[in-house]
C-alpha cells in the first residue's frame, strides 16, 4: 500500500533522510522508531505529499506521491504530531468543510458517526479553540478517517492523549490494519511500537539502522529476551 524507495530529503547541506526504503502492506502496521532528528517526521511528510523528495520515490496504492499526488492523497488519512486546526470553526464545521474539500459522499452522516465514536458529540458545535489538546487530537483523528482512507499515516499518535485515549488509538490502529488498511506511524515510544506494530524500522540520522518484526530484531542483537529499548539502544549505538 505504501512504498518508499531510496528516499532522500536534503535541506540545503543538511540531509534529513538518506536513502530510506520500506513498504507497508495492506493489513500491516509499521512503526518508524527513532530519536529526535532521526528523520521520521520528514519521511511522514514525504509520504503525505507535504515535502518533495530530493531523490527516491514514494508511492501510495501504486500512485507516485510526486507525480500523481491527488490520487495518492485521496487514499491517505493523516494525523500530524501537533493538531493545528482552525480555532474559529466548530468540530462539526471542520468535518463538514473537509467533507466538501475531499468530496466525501455522505459526509454529514460519517462525521456524526466519527464524532460519536471519538466522544466529541457534546462538544461538536462549540469552537475548536475551546477544546483541550486531547480533544483536538481526537478531532484530528475524525478528520483523518472521514473519507475512509486505505492508508493511515500518524505522526506521534499518543502526544497529548490520556491513558484511555491512548488505548483507544492503539485499538484503532490495530483495527484499521485488521480491516485491510495500512498503518504507518512514527513514535518515540517503545511501548507503543511494541504493542501495535507488525514491523519496526529503527531510524537514526536519516537512515534505517534495522528493520523487522520484534522477534527478528531480537535475533539481530543476539538476545531473545531483549526488550525493544535494549534493541533500540544497541542498534542505534552500533550505527553511531
Amino acid at each position: 500500500m505504501i512504498e518508499v524507495r531510496g528516499l532522500v530529503k536534503r535541506y540545503g547541506r543538511f540531509t534529513a533522510v538518506d536513502g530510506l526504503s520500506f513498504e507497508v502492506a495492506a493489513g500491516r502496521v509499521l512503526a518508524l522508531l527513532g530519536p529526535n532528528g532521526a528523520g521520521k517526521s520528514t519521511t511522514i511528510r514525504a509520504v503525505t505529499g507535504q515535502v518533495l523528495p530530493t531523490a527516491g520515490t514514494v508511492t501510495v496504492g501504486g500512485h507516485d506521491v510526486t507525480r500523481r499526488p491527488l490520487e495518492a492523497k485521496a487514499l491517505i488519512g493523516y494525523v500530524p504530531d501537533r493538531p493545528y486546526l482552525y480555532p474559529n470553526l466548530t468540530g462539526r464545521e471542520l468535518l463538514r468543510f473537509l467533507g466538501r474539500l475531499r468530496r466525501v459522499e455522505g459526509a454529514e452522516e460519517r462525521a456524526r458517526e466519527l464524532l460519536e465514536r471519538f466522544e466529541l458529540t457534546r462538544a461538536a458545535d462549540e469552537l475548536v479553540q475551546t477544546y483541550s489538546h486531547g480533544m483536538r487530537q481526537r478531532l484530528t483523528f475524525c478528520a483523518a478517517l472521514l473519507h475512509r482512507p486505505r492508508a493511515l499515516v500518524i505522526d506521534e499518535p499518543m502526544v497529548g492523549l490520556d491513558p484511555r485515549g491512548a488505548r483507544d488509538v492503539r485499538l484503532l490502529m490495530r483495527r484499521h490494519a485488521d480491516e485491510g488498511g495500512a498503518v504507518l506511524l512514527t513514535t518515540h515510544s517503545l511501548a507503543v511500537a511494541e504493542a501495535v506494530a507488525d514491523e519496526i524500522v529503527l531510524m537514526s540520522r536519516g537512515r534505517a539502522v534495522a528493520r523487522g518484526t520484534l522477534a527478528e530484531l531480537r535475533r539481530r542483537v543476539g538476545d531473545d529476551a531483549a526488550d525493544l529499548e535494549e534493541i533500540f539502544l544497541r542498534l542505534t549505538e552500533e550505527a553511531a
Binding site: 511528510r45 505529499g49 491517505i76 493545528y84 474559529n88 473537509l98 466538501r100 475531499r102 462549540e126 479553540q129
Partner: protein, 549 residues
C-alpha cells in the same frame, strides 16, 4: 543584560537567515529616512524664504514639529496596543523565561523594552531624519543631537506606557481569549475614525486662500500654545537643544518617561498571572455557546460547494475574527473618504469635470491596490498552521488559490464598480468617461484581487498571527509595486477615450466603435495578464511550498 543580549542575538540570527529580506527592508527604511530629511530641509528653506513671515518662521517650524510629534505619538499609542498584548502576554518565550531563576521584573523589563522598540521604531524612522535636518539647517551644536534624540525617546515612551497599560486593562475586561482580536479591532476602528476626522478638516480649502489669508493662518498657527501636551515639551527640549541647552522640559520628559516605564514593569509583573489565563484561551468547552448545528444554514447549503468549501470556511473564519472583519471597516472608511473627496470638487465646466473623472480612473486603481494588500494578499497566509489540512488533501494548489480569489473578488468588485459608478454619477461625466469609471474599478478589482491572492500564495507567511503582519514582506512589496504598475498602465489605456472626449466633445468617443472596442480589448488583456499570471505563479509556488520545521 544577559536577557537583552540573548534577545539581540536572536534578532541578529533572524536577520542573517533572510539576508535579502534584510537588505530590502533596510533599503526601504533608508529611502524613507532620506525622503523625510529632504522634505524637512525643503520645508524649512521654504518657511525661511517666505515673504514677510521671517520673524515667525521659527515659530511655525516649531509648531509643525509639535504637530508631527503629536501625530506620531498617537500613532505609537494605537500600534502599541496589540503589540503590547502580543509581547507582554503572547510571547512564546515568556513561560520559559519566567520559569528561570530570574526576578519577574527583569523579564518584564525586557518585554516592555521589546514593546517599546517594536512600536516606536517606525515613528522614529520618520522623526530622527527631521531632527537631524533641523539641526543641520539651524547650525546646531554637537550637544543638540543627543538632547534631541533623548527627548524623542522619552516622548515615545509615554504612549508606549499608556498603550501597554490599556492592554493590561483590556486583558482583564475583554471576553476571555478575545483580548488580542478586540485590541486589533479597536485599533483599526480608531484609525479609520482618525482618517475620517482628518478628511473632515477639508484641507483643500487651503488652495482657495489668498496669500494674506494664508499668512494670517500661519501667524495664528505660530501663536498656538498647547503647553500641556508632551509633544510640546519635546519640541521645547529640541528647540532649547538647538542652543545647546538641556531644558527643564527635557528633564521633566525624561523623568516622566523613566517613571512610567518603571511603573509599567512593576505593574506588568503583578498583573501578569490574572491576564495570562484570559489571553490563553476561551472558556473550556461546555461553557461556550453552540456555534453550529447538525443541519447547515440555508446560505451555507447554497454557497457550500463553491471552491470546495473554502469560500464558506473563509467567510465563517472572517466573521468570527475581529482582526479580519475590522479590515472591512477600513475598506468602508477608505471608500467613504474617497467618495467625499471626489464628490466635494464642484466644477461647472463639463471638460474640467471630465479631467477630474480621468484622474478618478487612475486613483481607483491606486485605491484598490491599497485595499488588496489588506484584503486579498493575506488570504492564503491566513490558513496559518492549519495549512497541513489543505496540503494533505487531494486538492490542486490551483483550486485553493482560485477559491481564495473567489472570496476576495466580490468585496473588491463592489468597491471598484460601486465607487466608479457613484463618482461618475456625482460628477455627471461625459458618456465615455461615465462608462470608463466603473469599468476601471471593475477591472482593477480583478487585477488587484488576482495579484493579491496570487502573490500571497507565492510568498505565504503561515506563521503570522494577523493580516497586518502578512503584508509586511518582500511579497507584499512586490504586490504593491505590481498593482501600482497595473494602475499606471491601465491609466495610459484610459487616456485615449479621455483625450477623445476632451478634444472632440461629449460624444466624440464610443466604446462600441472600432477604436473603443480595441481599447476595451487591450484593457481586458492587461487585466487578464495581471490576474491570471500571479494566480498561476501562486499556485505553482504553493504546490512546492514546504514546512520549514
Amino acid at each position: 543584560m544577559a536577557l537583552v543580549a540573548m534577545r539581540l542575538r536572536g534578532s541578529l540570527n533572524g536577520l542573517r537567515r533572510r539576508p535579502w529580506r534584510t537588505v530590502i527592508g533596510t533599503a526601504l527604511l533608508a529611502v524613507v529616512a532620506w525622503g523625510m530629511h529632504a522634505l524637512t530641509v525643503r520645508a524649512l528653506r521654504f518657511l525661511d524664504g517666505y515673504p514677510d513671515i521671517g520673524t515667525i518662521a521659527d515659530a511655525v517650524a516649531r509648531r509643525s514639529l509639535e504637530g508631527l510629534l503629536a501625530v506620531l505619538m498617537v500613532a505609537v499609542a494605537f500600534s502599541v496596543l496589540t503589540g503590547a498584548i502580543g509581547t507582554l502576554y503572547g510571547s512564546v518565550d515568556l513561560p520559559f523565561l519566567l520559569s528561570q531563576p530570574v526576578p519577574a521584573y527583569r523579564v518584564f523589563a525586557l518585554k516592555v523594552a521589546e514593546t517599546y522598540a517594536a512600536s516606536a521604531m517606525l515613528p522614529a524612522v520618520f522623526t530622527v531624519p527631521v531632527l537631524v535636518a533641523l539641526g543641520g539647517e539651524r547650525d546646531a551644536p554637537a550637544a543638540y543631537y543627543p538632547i534631541a534624540l533623548l527627548a524623542l525617546a522619552s516622548l515615545y515612551a509615554l504612549p508606549v506606557a499608556v498603550g501597554a497599560l490599556l492592554a493590561l486593562v483590556l486583558m482583564r475586561l475583554a471576553p476571555a481569549g478575545k483580548a488580542k482580536e478586540f485590541a486589533t479591532a479597536a485599533s483599526v476602528v480608531v484609525a479609520a475614525g482618525l482618517v475620517f476626522g482628518l478628511r473632515a478638516l477639508r484641507p483643500e480649502q487651503l488652495q482657495a486662500m489668498t496669500p494674506d489669508e494664508f499668512e494670517r493662518l500661519l501667524q495664528g498657527f505660530a501663536a498656538l500654545q498647547l503647553g500641556w501636551l508632551p509633544s510640546s515639551w519635546a519640541a521645547d527640549a529640541v528647540w532649547q537643544g538647538l542652543a545647546g541647552r538641556f531644558s527643564a522640559g527635557a528633564t521633566l520628559l525624561l523623568a516622566l518617561a523613566l517613571v512610567v516605564l518603571g511603573g509599567l514593569v512593576v505593574l506588568s509583573s503583578r498583573a501578569y498571572a490574572a491576564g495570562w489565563y484570559r489571553a490563553e484561551g476561551d472558556a473550556p468547552w461546555g461553557g461556550g455557546r453552540r456555534r453550529s448545528s447538525e443541519r447547515p444554514p440555508a446560505w451555507e447549503r447554497v454557497l457550500g460547494p463553491l471552491g470546495g468549501g473554502l469560500v464558506v470556511k473563509d467567510l465563517r473564519l472572517m466573521l468570527r475574527d475581529p482582526s479580519q472583519w475590522s479590515q472591512l471597516l477600513v475598506l468602508a472608511a477608505l471608500a467613504g473618504v474617497y467618495f467625499i473627496s471626489t464628490a466635494s470638487v464642484s466644477v461647472g465646466i463639463q471638460r474640467f469635470r471630465d479631467v477630474i473623472g480621468a484622474i478618478n480612473v487612475a486613483f481607483l486603481g491606486f485605491l484598490l491596490a491599497g485595499v488588496g494588500v489588506r484584503l486579498a494578499f493575506p488570504l492564503v497566509s491566513l490558513e496559518g498552521e492549519a495549512v497541513w489540512l489543505l496540503r494533505t488533501a487531494p486538492v490542486r494548489a490551483w483550486r485553493i488559490v482560485f477559491a481564495k480569489f473567489l472570496g476576495a473578488l466580490p468585496p473588491m468588485l463592489a468597491l471598484g464598480v460601486g465607487l466608479g459608478a457613484a463618482v461618475a454619477g456625482r460628477l455627471e461625466l461625459s458618456p465615455a468617461l461615465a462608462v470608463a469609471a466603473p469599468l476601471a474599478g471593475g477591472l482593477a478589482a480583478f487585477a488587484t484581487a488576482g495579484l493579491g491572492v496570487g502573490l500571497g500564495a507565492a510568498f505565504p507567511r503561515f506563521d503570522s498571527v494577523n493580516p497586518h503582519e502578512v503584508a509586511v514582506s518582500s511579497g507584499g512589496l512586490l504586490y504593491m509595486a505590481l498593482s501600482l504598475a497595473y494602475a499606471a498602465l491601465s491609466t495610459l489605456l484610459f487616456a485615449y477615450p479621455t483625450w477623445r472626449s476632451l478634444v472632440g466633445g461629449r460624444n466624440a468617443f464610443s466604446w462600441t466603435a472600432p477604436d473603443g472596442l480595441l481599447v476595451l480589448a487591450a484593457l481586458v488583456l492587461l487585466c487578464a495578464l495581471f490576474t491570471l499570471v500571479p494566480l498561476l505563479l501562486g499556485s505553482h509556488r504553493l504546490s512546492r511550498w514546504e514546512p520549514s520545521d
